[in-house]
């Protein structure tokens, strides 16, 4: 596998098809945890971590269990169970191994189960045709990592802007969610510029 493929997948998931700003996945945490930069960073790290591991395990499950035994209709139900138990497991491991990291990520981990971007990346790995291609496992793990990084990038940008918005003079009725959505729209408009990139 060439390095070019790796870069193409990374640039594609982080900038061109940013999960939040162009595919509109994972909006609940994007709106909920983007009030402060610190918590946005913690959430971002947790998402990168879970997405990478989830890509790995869901790929293995699909490739070696669901696909050969012709039970792909169980995809949705088995993926969500894998993700939920994975999140629970990661939470327990982090709590035992590194209490300091647990303090930072702890409260965000349970929220990740219902983050549609995680299930989204698992399903998209299957839909991108990685199952039958060479190095499919590596590609899907890279896609998972890139998707998480793109999510973190969007979350950090939004949190930085929202911290400033706190001080701005905004009409009463626009405060809170409405102005956040309009800001997100402008951010998405900026990210639309990446769509012209050719790699």
């Amino acid at each position: 596998m060439e390095i070019k493929v790796v870069i193409a997948i990374l640039v594609g998931t982080i900038f061109i098809n940013n999960y939040v700003l162009s595919q509109m996945l994972g909006l609940c945490p994007f709106l909920g945890v983007s009030k402060k930069l610190d918590s946005a960073f913690g959430m971002g790290l947790a998402v990168i971590f879970v997405m990478t591991i989830a890509s790995f395990f869901t790929f293995l499950l699909y490739r070696y269990v669901l696909f050969p035994y012709d039970i792909i209709y169980l995809r949705t139900i088995s993926f969500i169970i894998i993700i939920a138990s994975l999140v629970q497991f990661v939470e327990m491991v982090i709590e035992k191994v590194s209490p300091a990291l647990y303090q930072t990520l702890g409260i965000f981990l349970p929220l990740i189960t219902t983050n549609c971007a995680v299930l989204g990346v698992a399903v998209l790995n299957i839909n991108s045709g990685f199952i039958t291609s060479d190095f499919g496992l590596v590609k899907s793990v890279i896609q998972g990592f890139g998707a998480g990084t793109g999510f973190t990038l969007a979350l950090l940008l939004m949190a930085g802007i929202r911290e400033r918005l706190e001080l701005a003079d905004i009409p009463e009725n626009l405060k809170g969610l409405p102005i956040t959505f309009i800001t997100a729209g402008l951010l998405a408009l900026a990210f639309l510029g990446f769509a012209g990139m050719k790699i």
Binding site: Q23, T113, N173, P178, I182, A184, G185, A188
Partner: protein, 197 residues
């Protein structure tokens, strides 16, 4: 009367998208056309109805510490039913909604209603709640899709609106979705504050 109140609250007072801000992802992603929005509403309402009824039926048997996995499994079962039937009977819709059909599982609205309402109320109240919430979800989606389809593709239900008008493609893409929903939320705040004042 009481049932009607449970039904009515989802439409405006506790509208899942505009007030509770749940289920944002499908609301923004599939509202590129009115017909997509209506199919999404149908699918989500079916899953919500099924899960609310089933959860309220078995709420006495679920140990409280494993209730979330049980709810997720119930929801995922209904989503699989929807996925398979759409694939079989409406392949065009299945293709248009794409990844957002399996993602109904993680629509926080469904899990939220199971946790907040169905696990504490009877079957008939839960069904009324599901119907109201589904309809409120659908109304918001339809309004959003109406503006996006009108401005982004210059069509309504696939029919051309003004001959020769150049549509703005940004409305069909992500920015249009964010900005339209932002303006809708603003409008709702304006109406609510007028009512109070």
């Amino acid at each position: 009367m009481n049932l009607f109140n449970e039904f009515k609250k989802g439409l405006w007072e506790r509208n899942p998208i505009l007030v509770l801000s749940l289920g944002m992802c499908p609301a923004l992603a599939v509202t590129t056309s009115i017909s997509n929005a209506l199919w999404m509403t149908l699918a989500t309402t079916f899953v919500l109805m099924g899960s609310n009824i089933l959860v309220s039926l078995i709420k006495g048997f679920i140990p409280s510490h494993v209730r979330i996995p049980v709810y997720i499994t119930i929801v995922a079962t209904y989503v699989t039913i929807v996925e398979l039937s759409l694939h079989a009977f409406q392949p065009a819709v299945y293709k248009a909604l794409g990844i957002f059909i399996p993602l109904i599982v993680v629509n926080c609205m469904i899990l939220g209603r199971a946790e907040e309402f169905a696990s504490k109320n009877g079957v008939r109240a839960s069904a009324a709640d599901a119907l109201g919430m589904g309809l409120g979800f659908g109304l918001t989606l339809t309004v959003l899709a109406f503006f996006r389809e009108l401005l982004g593709a210059n069509t309504i239900f696939g029919y051309t609106f003004i001959q020769g008008m150049e549509p703005s493609s940004a409305m069909i893409l992500a920015p249009g979705a964010f900005i339209t929903l932002g303006l809708m939320l603003w409008g709702m705040n304006v109406i609510n504050s007028r009512k109070k004042g």
